[in-house]
């Protein structure tokens, strides 16, 4: 029996059982649908509770805040607020709201809703993990600690004007207001729904929530009364498919329009074979191997840390393990972040220099260096990178062991400063140098707040603190660049690579803005479908 015969029999049998749907050639009046893959069931659809990009992918479509990022330049542009004024001292913001913004339940959005939404995020009963977004507001701390009934720095001036006063000038405040936790939600729906709000969210974004089949899919429909967008895509289906090979098959069979991951080892094949579908673009993230700078042998031994940096061939790691989807790190700030310095040299691969620095650090050819362990969380990619580091350090006489743990146990150990070396990556919460240099390396951020390497340099601390409140953008960049040069020279990490974002997108979709924030933030409301429909 030939394969064709076998296939014909199978098709016949399944047809008899009505298990193959009847296909028609009519395509008229079918809503335009976009199918987006989510790798897991989102933990929540409540913007106040979201701490992950899976939830963020959906939440960003349902909700709007006062301001938003222009997807490509990442400048802060108007959203619900049509304009704003900032006082000369950078301490007070007055936002003027548009008067044509509606919630999905049909009620207009007012300044009172902004106050309610911000206080809801800050309210300890909400259990938001993103209170830091609104923490700079005057009185936010007192409210969070239940010492005040309202946030002193939020003042509704009239239905469409709100004044926000900060404790001290904080330059990235507007950028932080673009985050999900600053979304505007309707009080009557939130209060009535309670915890159920995360299952049935209502916002004022370009798409409204329709249905969430747990672990299967989330459906959104375009909101016709949106103040800004009239999207081509009528319906977005977020299909929850954890297995990458399965998601890849779904993409090929037309079950997905955007695929964010490709099975390991197939990237080059897909890239060469399907150039129209394959997209790569810069991403605001950095991958590094951290040292524990507060413990020997790395504490007070800059030359040792520099030696490790010179010993590693980042280019080969990018090519071999990331299949070209990353590029070697020269500094801390990735391209796309204001202040990124393309002229930085970083640490080129130079094993001879590494050996000589190692000798100057007191460990000539690795003699006397304790055998230490590089920790990483369980993931084949991290294991491979760990093995590369192990190999390169072995070339200069340093022996290290590898240890992997599940994420929960791993992050706890890294928070506590237990490992002497550990792998870590960072994806920008908001596109500002503060979110890299201050968060990851300022000594006030030790441990879970971001400075896992426990790096401490008073000059660096001073510069990043000054930059935080500097209102002149040009001067801010200068401060950050000076701080970054200190960080590079001090080598608190082995700098590895800047990630590049990758996705397969059906060529029938046009005007897809590949934002450096990542695929989860691609504004689907701006996507257009070409006249020629493929598949």
């Amino acid at each position: 029996m030939t394969l064709q015969n076998l296939k014909a029999i199978l098709v016949f049998l399944l047809n008899v059982l009505w298990l193959i749907p009847v296909t028609t050639s009519e395509v008229s009046d079918v809503p335009v649908e976009f199918r987006f893959r989510l790798a897991t069931n989102p933990p929540t659809l409540d913007p106040a509770l979201s701490t992950d990009t899976t939830s963020g992918a959906v939440i960003l479509k349902i909700n709007d805040g006062l301001v938003q990022f222009e997807p490509m330049s990442l400048e802060v542009i108007p959203a619900v607020a049509s304009s704003w004024e900032i006082s000369d001292d950078g301490n007070t913001y007055i936002f003027h709201l548009r008067q044509d913004v509606m919630f999905h339940n049909g009620r207009p959005v007012t300044a009172e809703d902004v106050r309610y939404s911000f206080e809801r995020t800050l309210n300890p009963a909400t259990r938001s993990g993103r209170t830091f977004v609104l923490d700079p507001i005057l009185g936010a701390r007192a409210f969070m600690n239940r010492d005040a009934d309202s946030v002193k720095g939020i003042e509704v001036l009239d239905d469409y004007t709100i004044r926000i006063q900060l404790t001290e000038p904080f330059a990235p405040f507007l950028a932080q207001l673009c985050m999900e936790a600053a979304s505007i939600v309707p009080r009557e729906v939130c209060d009535k729904a309670g915890p159920q709000f995360s299952l049935h969210p209502v916002g004022c974004g370009p798409y409204q929530f329709v249905e969430w089949k747990q672990d299967v899919e989330i459906t959104l429909r375009k909101f016709p009364a949106h103040y800004q967008w009239s999207p081509d895509i009528d319906v977005i289906k977020f299909r929850i498919i954890e297995s990458v090979p399965t998601a890849f098959e779904e993409y090929k069979t037309g079950g997905l329009d955007l695929l964010d991951q490709i099975p390991n080892g197939q990237i080059q094949t897909v890239r060469d074979g399907y150039p129209d579908d394959f997209r790569v673009w810069p991403y605001l993230s950095i991958y590094y191997i951290g040292f524990n700078n507060s413990k020997p042998p790395f504490q007070n031994n800059r030359k040792l840390r520099q030696a490790f940096n010179y010993a590693v061939d980042r280019k080969k790691i990018c090519l071999a393990i990331k299949e070209g989807l990353a590029y070697p790190v020269a500094g801390v700030l990735p391209p796309g972040i204001p202040g990124y310095d393309p002229d930085l040299e970083g640490y080129p691969y130079d094993p001879d220099r590494a050996r000589s620095l190692l000798a100057e650090a007191g460990y000539s050819e690795g003699r006397g260096f304790p055998e230490i362990t590089l920790w990483h969380n369980r993931d084949p990619r991290h294991t491979l990178i760990g093995q590369c580091i192990q190999y390169y350090l072995g070339q200069i006489g340093i022996r290290i062991r590898l240890k992997n743990l599940e994420w929960a146990a791993y992050i706890e150990a890294v928070d506590e400063g237990e490992p002497l070396m550990f792998r870590m990556a960072w994806v920008a919460d908001y596109p500002d140098a503060d979110n890299f240099l201050f968060t990851l390396l300022n000594s006030s951020q030790f441990g879970a707040a971001g400075n896992y390497a426990r790096f401490c340099n008073p000059e660096f601390d001073q510069l990043t603190r000054l930059a935080k409140s500097e209102t002149d953008p040009g001067h801010r960049i200068e401060l950050y660049r000076a701080a970054e040069r200190i960080a590079i020279a001090d080598a608190p990490w082995i700098f590895i690579y800047y990630e590049r974002e990758m996705a397969m997108i059906k060529p029938c979709w046009q005007n897809v803005q590949l934002t450096p924030q990542g695929d989860f933030a691609i504004p689907l409301e701006a996507v257009r479908r070409s006249a020629e429909i493929i598949q």
Binding site: L19, I20, G129, F132, P195, D215, S243, P245, A413, Q445
Partner: protein, 321 residues
């Protein structure tokens, strides 16, 4: 019989409670902090402390256990740390999909496994027997996730140009809409999940039947001139069923919570995946609730298996007369 049933059903309570208690304390022993997992990578100490306090996780473990028992007494399995949802809602939401997949897989494995086992037994040491034994061994030893991907490749996969790789007639993954669409989505996961059971049941049926057909009463039935098919199906099979039922019972309970690989490959919204995800995220209430539910089903299925023994073989008594 009824007194026996009542006793067994009452016995379910301490069993399930004991298991829940063990899991509750085991979750506490797992390194890591659920609040830290919730916060993602950006988790400052102050926010963490605030949320920990709000969730009552700053209380001593024995106090937390007391709250757990108190809630349990009112039928409340608690609230997920991760998303504030009621654990009972999370589990009940997945129950239909879990049951559908498990029941279909059991039916498939019983029908195909017994058929293959009987065929192999009556054709002992012939080519059919050898083939079935080899296939059953492959079924038992093939990793479920690999078989799942293979089935997708054979029955669902298409190239970028839209042409099928082989057959390309079934959906790759998903749960489908109620009705025929759901049935289409069920075929591949059910096949994938039942492969191991088919292998076990085929081998068990074969060996049981071979043991039984050497008994005197089978020889007597043959001597009476009964047709061979009747001897096998009516006399031999019934007595050979006891070990097979044991396997089916254990398998069914295992399929409810142990179908994680299948659920992952085919994006099937089952309980197994929810519990495994909850373990990764240290979501204690969901883990404890999920395990309690699975333990309950396990005990009930065991009870049904015990009752079935006595129905199939009246010589077996459930309790002493």
């Amino acid at each position: 019989m009824s007194a026996y049933l009542v006793r067994r059903i009452i016995g379910v309570i301490p069993t399930v409670l004991g298991i829940a208690t063990i899991i509750f304390f085991l979750m506490y022993l797992i390194p890591g902090d659920p609040v830290r997992v919730i916060l993602g990578q950006h988790g400052d100490a102050e926010t963490r402390l605030r949320i920990t306090r709000e969730m009552g996780l700053d209380q001593p473990i024995i106090v937390q256990y007391g709250y757990f028992l108190k809630n349990l007494a009112t039928g409340d399995l608690g609230t997920s740390y991760r998303n504030n949802q009621k654990v009972a809602d999370i589990l009940l939401d997945r129950m239909p999909a879990t049951l559908l997949l498990a029941i279909t897989s059991v039916l498939l494995s019983v029908c195909l496994g017994m058929l293959c086992g009987i065929f192999a037994a009556v054709r002992q040491n012939k080519i059919g027997d050898v083939l079935i034994m080899i296939l059953s061994l492959i079924g038992i030893s093939t990793p479920v996730f690999w078989l799942g991907l293979l089935l997708i490749l054979i029955f669902a996969s298409k190239g970028f140009d839209g042409s099928p790789v082989l057959f390309g007639i079934l959906p790759v993954s998903g749960y489908g809409e109620p009705g025929l669409d759901r049935l289409r989505h069920l075929i591949l996961p059910a096949l994938s999940l039942s492969a191991v059971s088919i292998g076990y049941i085929a081998r068990m049926t074969r060996s049981s039947i071979l043991e039984v057909i050497r008994q005197d009463y089978i020889r007597t039935a043959a001597a009476k001139g009964l047709p061979y098919s009747r001897i096998i199906l009516k006399h031999a099979l019934r007595n050979a069923l006891i070990p097979v039922i044991t396997i089916v019972g254990l398998n069914f309970a295992g399929l409810l919570g142990g179908a994680v690989a299948t659920e992952t490959v085919f994006s099937w919204p089952g309980i197994g995946k929810v519990v495994v995800d909850a373990i990764r995220q240290l979501d204690g209430p969901v883990v404890v609730g999920g395990v309690m539910l699975l333990a309950f089903v396990f005990v009930i299925v065991n009870l049904i298996v015990d009752i079935t023994y006595s129905v199939i073989d009246p010589r077996i008594r459930l309790e002493r007369d």
